[in-house]
Amino acid sequence: MTKVVGARLKRKEDPKLITGNGYFSDDIQLPGMLHAAILRSPHAHAMIKSINVEEALKAPGVVAIYTGKDLEGKIGPVPSSWLVPGCNLKEAPQYPLAIDRVRYVGDGVALVIAEGRYAVRDAMYLIDVEYETLSPAVGQKQSMQNDAPLVHDDIENNIAFHWKAGEIPEEVCENAEVAIRQSFYIQRVAPSPIETRAAIGQYNPGSGELTLWCTSQNPHIHRMVLSGVLEISEAKLRVIAPDMGGGFGGKIGVYPDEALVGYAARDLGRPVKWIEERIEHFTASNYGRDEVLDVELFGKRDGTLSAIRVKNTHNVGAYLSTMGPGVSTIDFGLMVTGCYKIPYASCETFGVYTNTTPTDAYRGAGKPEATYQIERAIDLFAKEIGMDPLELRRKNFVQKEEFPFTNAQGLLYDSGDYEKPLTKALEMFDYNKFRETQKELRKQGKLIGIGFSTYVELCGFGPSKVAGAIGFQGGVWENATVRVHPSGKVTVYSGTSPHGQGHATTFGQVVAEKLGIPMDDIELVFGDTKAISMGWGTYGSRSVAVGGTAVSIATDRVIEKAKKIAAHELEAPVEDLIFEKGIFSVKGAPGFERTFQEIAKSANMAWNLPEGLEPSLEAQSFFDPENFVYPFGTHIAVVEVDKETGQIEIKRYIAVDDVGRVINPLTAEGQVHGGIAQGIGQALWEGTVYNEDGQLLTGTFMDYAMPKARFFPEIETAFTETLSPVNPLGAKGIGETGTTASTPAIMNAVMDALEPYGIKDIEMPLTPEKVWRAISESEGK
């Protein structure tokens, strides 16, 4: 049998999806089902003077309307789940509907329930809300000023938290031969899965069980948080994440909306469905990023880096989201040195409330921002000292013999060999030749540039002890059960909750290889809190490293038990049993065999089991890793800038990633491509725009530029494999590498192209207008 792990297998998930047989939230139709719509604030900041629902209640099909006041005392605030310690964190209660004051465009004001998709919207627009508008706090830097409007009256200067990590001795900065100081803005971006969020609630008044289908990357976290909000026992609340049309972090958060749907379904005793409209995705779903990074990088003229000092001013929006506070602190602040051996680092983060939609984890969560600032600063430093940016990188890389390596912020990088993917990338791209060509083209007035991004990121969320220490309100271990049926076919239950990553295939490969059974004999169950006892979901590139490891360990346990049964039947000592390619045999006794399927039957029939052994063949693992995993790699971007129009064309894109063991190269490449598209989207096109009144100017795909196919060249990908020592699969994490690496690679390439103009930075996204303006202004100097 050929190796299954590492094989380029097409996905088990696909037949249903390509034939239109997926089962997404809006496909759910229940008898007597009602539709819900949420009336949202058109103002960034206003007092609610009155809400008149009289007309709306008379509209055809209306069953109920709830306002914030109606729900007071009946449904609790939705809490943040990452209460980072030691940062004077001030959480403001976010009630599912605003009670007397709205704090962002999109803040929920009333919940309407009616018969039918259209009727509910007809009724919603008949609600008359009288507002008294207040001055809004919009940008984070302005909102921290003493005279800024307060988002929450009792929170001074709108500072939600102030976090610090790392110390740099003053003389290190003072004595530095070179100091680069640059401010970068990582603009706010929308996760934008093509399937928006959704929730469907169904309550059984007889049993008291509430079932909530919702678009969730982590249904058990939804269950845990919502059981508190709705005051219902976890045993009575079943959360199901059906097929999901993407997440990208936007479906991690527990939102007021899901709580409202659950509440209404229970209150009315009828099923209730809410499907987020795209404009709601832009006004009411958590965004990513929105961080101002003031960076100082210190070192010597010979390229030795000595310290990095970063201040991150993070726009958290009007409330603290589920993972929000951890993103710009732990995820960002501990990774500011990137893949470099910089002896000293410090990071200070201000989380600032503003009258905007909350921000939360978005693909990469903190690591793309950390990578961006260090990779950009490295390029600026190289330019300052006249060194090749690649040489500066190599000079400061953590060397492979130094792993496990503790970075300046105290994180222990598990394993690495940063030269390896770089070397591979340079095999794919003749750098020296490029520099020659670039010189020639520059003479002809053409602006072509190259950008490198050599990155490392923290993935594989575990270990739970660490999660506790950093204030995460949950564990981050993972759970898997491997259940062998009497026929020898297998169901795997995982606490991770995929939404496009292909876990049924990759986890299936792990099990198929170990058990020596066909992929078709293995099914994966996920996303249902009733089927799976506990789990922590899919985000932060944790599924394979943590969830896949749990599957692997549970499978080993199945084999261990099966061996005992086989040994008993074959009348041989267990230690003489060999299990290979699905066959149990006895060492030195050819012909004494049992197939896996035969043992599955024996285990389940239990007619003849070894003394003391319980029937059935099933095992569970609750794997809590000892450390995070740290994937790394090198990305290279080549761009050409049209100096007449400011238009940027990506000429080549090379990605070499090292994510430890690659279980399935096909799905791995897919993850890399998608991640790169998203990271390039951040660099070049995507960006949320609020005006000074806090009005959202980018509320549809007509105003918010999503990456399109024709924007990209063919992406050239390759992998190197440096196994992680922290899990038996040796796997790291791949979902976010592309997003983390690509944004700085593109920015560095564009800045390299613009080098003749002496331009140091342009704020993302690099729209042609901004680039053209930067060129024009520099020419005017």
Binding site: I18, T19, I194, D243, R278, Q671, I676, F701
Partner: protein
């Protein structure tokens, strides 16, 4: 004043179907909610994403911005009409073989749009496929494997002379 519901009759995936709907019902909702064919998805409400693309009388149409009444009497093909798991359409084969989908939500619409492209151009270049994808948004794949999928489908179709949908089979 309430407007009377109207009967909308179509031939969808080869079968005559009808349902009484409000005149303002979007074709996408008619197909999904009234005819129960949920493979066609809605993603953006403004006709940008193309997840709702279907074929109406041989033309690719974004069904979220067309009224069901406008489609009365027409022939519609949705993803369910392309092929089933035992008899996949070449475009479905292409998407499966080449990993042209991840979450699979935009996929039915993207496949319909690409069927439309291949009808016009049975042998498109990479660039032509990327241009042909202009009307759709996929957030997962970065498009590269979609391009591969379409090329693969085009090849199968050329080799086997498979008829496109919307034509006599």
């Amino acid at each position: 004043m309430a407007i009377e519901n109207v009967n909308v009759k179509v031939k969808i995936n080869g079968k005559e179907r009808c349902a009484k709907v409000e005149p303002r019902t979007l074709l996408a909702h008619y197909i999904r909610d009234d005819l129960g064919l949920t493979g066609t998805h809605i993603g953006c409400d403004t006709s940008q994403c193309g997840a709702c693309s279907v074929m109406v009388d041989g033309e690719v149409v974004k069904s979220c911005t067309v009224l069901a009444v406008q489609a009365d009497g027409s022939e519609i093909t949705t993803v369910e009409g392309l092929g089933d798991v035992n008899n996949l359409h070449p475009i479905q084969q292409g998407f499966w073989e080449k990993h042209g989908l991840q979450c699979g939500y935009c996929t039915p619409g993207v496949m319909m749009a690409m069927v439309g492209l291949l009808k016009q151009n049975p042998n498109p270049s990479d660039e032509e496929i990327r241009e042909g994808l202009e009307g759709v948004i996929c957030r997962c794949t970065g498009y590269q494997f979609i391009v591969e999928a379409v090329k693969h489908a085009a090849q199968i179709m050329r080799e086997t002379e498979v008829q496109l949908v919307g034509e006599e089979r």
